[in-house]
Amino acid sequence: MKQKSDHHLFVAYKRQLSHEKKVVLLWQFSILILFIGLWEIASRFYWIDPLLFSSPSRIIQLLIQKLTDGSIITHVEFTLFETILGFIIGTAGGIIIATLLWSSRRFSNVMDPYLVIMNAMPKVALGPIIIVALGPGLVSIITMGAIISVIITSLVVYSAFNEVDPNYEKVLKSFGASRWQCFKEAIFPATIPAIISTFKVNVGLSWVGVIVGEFLVSKQGLGYLIIYGFQVFDFSLVMASLVLIAIFAAIMYKVVEKIEAWLIKHST
C-alpha cells in the first residue's frame, strides 16, 4: 500500500513537470507568432516603412529563392568556416598562452601590463591594421575571430591555474615530480571545468569578430551580405542574413553546450 502511494506521488510530480513544460512551450511559441504576425501586418498596412523594415513574408521569399538557387549557401559556409576556425584558434591559443604564463613566473610578471592593455583594448578596433598586415581575405577574418577571444581566455585560464589547491602539487612534489609533471597531473586536469566554461563565451565572441571582419573585408560571407544589402538598400537581404546568423549562432552554441557536457562527463 505504502509503496503504491509513494509511486502515485512521483507520477503526479512528473505529470506536473511535463504540464509546466507544455505551458512554457506554448508561451514561447505564441510570442514568436505574435511578433512575426505583428511585423507582417505593420508592414502591410504601412505602419512601418516596408522598404526599411521589410516583412516576414518577403524575407522568407528571399530566403527560399536564395537557397534554391544556392547563391547564399557559399556565404553561409564561408562565415561558418571562419567562425569555427576563429573559435578553435582563439581558445587553443588562449590555453597555450596561459600555460606559458604559468610555466614561468618571471614571464607572467613581465607580460602583466601588456596583457592588461591588450585585454582592455577593443579588439575590433584593430581590424583595419589586421587587414593591412594580413591582406583583405580569409586569414584576416579568421584572425579577427580568434584575436577577440584569445586574451580573455588566457587571462581566465591562467587565473584558474593559479587557483588550484597547492596541496595537490605538494603531493606530487613529495614524489619528486617536476614542474611539468605537476602541470600535467594536477594543474591542467583540475582546471578543465574552467577551460570548458570559456568555450561558450568564446563562440559568441568569435561571431562578433568574424562579422566585423566581413564588414571590413567585404568580399563574401553573411557579414558582407549585411553591408551589401545596406548599401543597395535591400533590407530584406539584411534581415535574411540576420535570421541566418541567429539560427547558426544558436546551433553552434548548442553544439558547444553538448561538447561541454560530454567533456565534463568524460574528464571526471
Binding site: 603531493v171 612534489k173 613529495s174 614524489f175 597531473e185 571526471t268
Partner: protein, 264 residues
Amino acid sequence: MSFLTLDHVSHHYFSKDSYTKAIDDISLSIEEGEFVSLLGPSGCGKSTILSIIAGIMKQTAGKVLLQDQLITDSKIPIGYMLQQDYLFPWKTILNNVLLGPKIYDTNSEETKTRALELLDEVGLHDVANQHPGALSGGMRQRAALVRTLINDPKIMLLDEPFSALDYQTKLRLEDLVSLQIKTYHKTTILVTHDIGEAIAMSDRIFIMHANPGSIDKVFEVPIELRNETPFLVRRHPKYQIIFDKVWDVLSKKETDSKVVPPTS
C-alpha cells in the same frame, strides 16, 4: 650516525613587506624504524618541518641528512600524508594509488598487483575503480595511506592525517596505520595536536612551542606502551600518567607565552 638528522635547521617565510621565522635552530635525530611525534600548538612550525624533510621546501639555514646524505641530493622515496587526503578527484582510487609509481616511472603490472594487494589490506579492494568522491572520509584517508606505501618510502611523514575524521574512524585508522607501519618497518614522523594520539602511536614525543617554532622537551614513551596497539594504549594504566606529564609541559608553555608576548 642516525637515520634522519636535522642539524640546526631554521626556516623563514618571506613576503613583500615582512618575514616570519617559522622554525628556529631545530636539531633532532631519529633512528631507523622509530616512530616519533611532533606535538605543539598551531603555528609552531610542524608542517614546515615535514615539508622540509619531504624536500618540498628548502630550509633557509642548517642541514637535513637522511642516511648521511643531504635530503636534497637523495632520491630516497618519502611518504607524505596530509591532513586531508588530497586524492585527485578526476582519477580512480587505483590510479591515485599509482600516481607515485607514475612519477617515479616504475609503473608496471607488478606495481598494479601490489597496489591492489595493499588496497585489499586496508579494505578498499572493491572500490579500486571508483572515484574519490564516492568514498567516505575514512576510506579516502586509507587510500591516501596506500598511495604513500606503494612507493616503499624509507620514511613516512604524517601531517595530522586523522584530524579531519570523526572520533571512531580516527581510532580505527590509528590502529590500521600503526599496523601497516609496523608490518613494513617504516620510520615515521607524526604531526598532531592530540596528546592521546601522540602517546598511543609513538616511541618518542617532541613537544614544540611557537614564535619561533622550536623543540621544548622530548618524552620517551615507556616500552610497555610501545608494543600495544594505539587503541589499547589509551586504556593502559600508565597512559594517564604520561598524558598528565605532557599536559603539564604544554600548559606551562602556554601560560609562559602569555606572560612574555611573542616578538616577531
